[in-house]
């Protein structure tokens, strides 16, 4: 079956612009996670969805970042007024149940965001 997919694979934008990053989790996975990975670092948690609701958004760095998952499947990470410091690879992961911290998470290939 299909794994986690993310679009676009690369996104180049200018400082101050708005961007949307999309994640399609594995079908049937109720839990969805967004992470951000800077060069030479491990992924850092941003937000966790259980179904349609954001169960933990404590990793979002500021109010320019927002994510939705309206039907409990596809999720969109939205970044307003982008800054150069937002440049990173944004990773999405899903797990069958909402206990992905206690079981395997399946990662997508990531979206590489570059803010000029």
């Amino acid at each position: 079956g299909a794994g986690v997919s993310q679009t676009p694979s690369n996104k180049v934008t200018e400082k101050g612009k708005y961007v949307e990053l999309r994640c399609d989790p594995i079908s049937g996975h109720t839990a969805l996670y967004w992470y951000r990975q800077s060069l030479g670092q491990g992924p850092e948690f941003l937000i966790y969805f259980q179904g349609t609701g954001a169960a933990d958004d404590s990793g979002l760095p500021n109010d320019r970042f927002f994510a939705v998952r309206p039907e409990g499947s596809v999720s969109t990470l939205k970044i307003q007024r982008t800054e150069r410091g937002d440049s990173a690879v944004y990773l999405c992961a899903s797990s069958l149940r909402g206990d992905g911290a206690y079981n395997e998470q399946f990662f997508g290939p990531g979206t590489r965001l570059t803010v000029l």
Partner: protein
């Protein structure tokens, strides 16, 4: 802040040799996971070891966990060029809602 910290940061070996990577963490955990990341790609889950386990094997991988020392090791035996990648350990955050990753060990296996 990142709880898992891998050591060494980089490791270069020849094909056929064994590679050992270590991970240290700070708080009590339910489990510890290891992931691999090939350049420019997403992470792939390798193995999960629970806090009541001391050792676990999967193919050429062997993971140990010492909860008293808050450390884990990943051993890759008889390494191959295809094992070249970054390896990350990850532990649950306090809320159990996500994983906290270390900075990773970059492994290079040359033929």
């Amino acid at each position: 802040s990142q709880q898992g910290e891998e050591d060494p940061q980089a490791l270069s070996i020849q094909e056929g040799e064994n590679a050992t990577m270590n991970c240290s963490y700070k708080t009590s955990i339910n489990n510890l996971q290891w992931y691999r990341q090939n350049s420019g790609r997403g992470l792939v889950h390798l193995i999960l070891i629970r806090s009541n386990e001391r050792e676990k094997h999967s193919g050429r991988l062997r993971v140990t966990l010492d909860t008293s020392k808050k450390s884990s090791s990943l051993l890759i035996t008889a390494s191959r060029a295809a094992d070249t990648a970054s390896y990350f350990c990850a532990v649950p955050n306090q809320a159990g809602t996500a994983l906290i990753f270390g900075k990773g060990t970059t492994l290079s296996v040359s033929s």
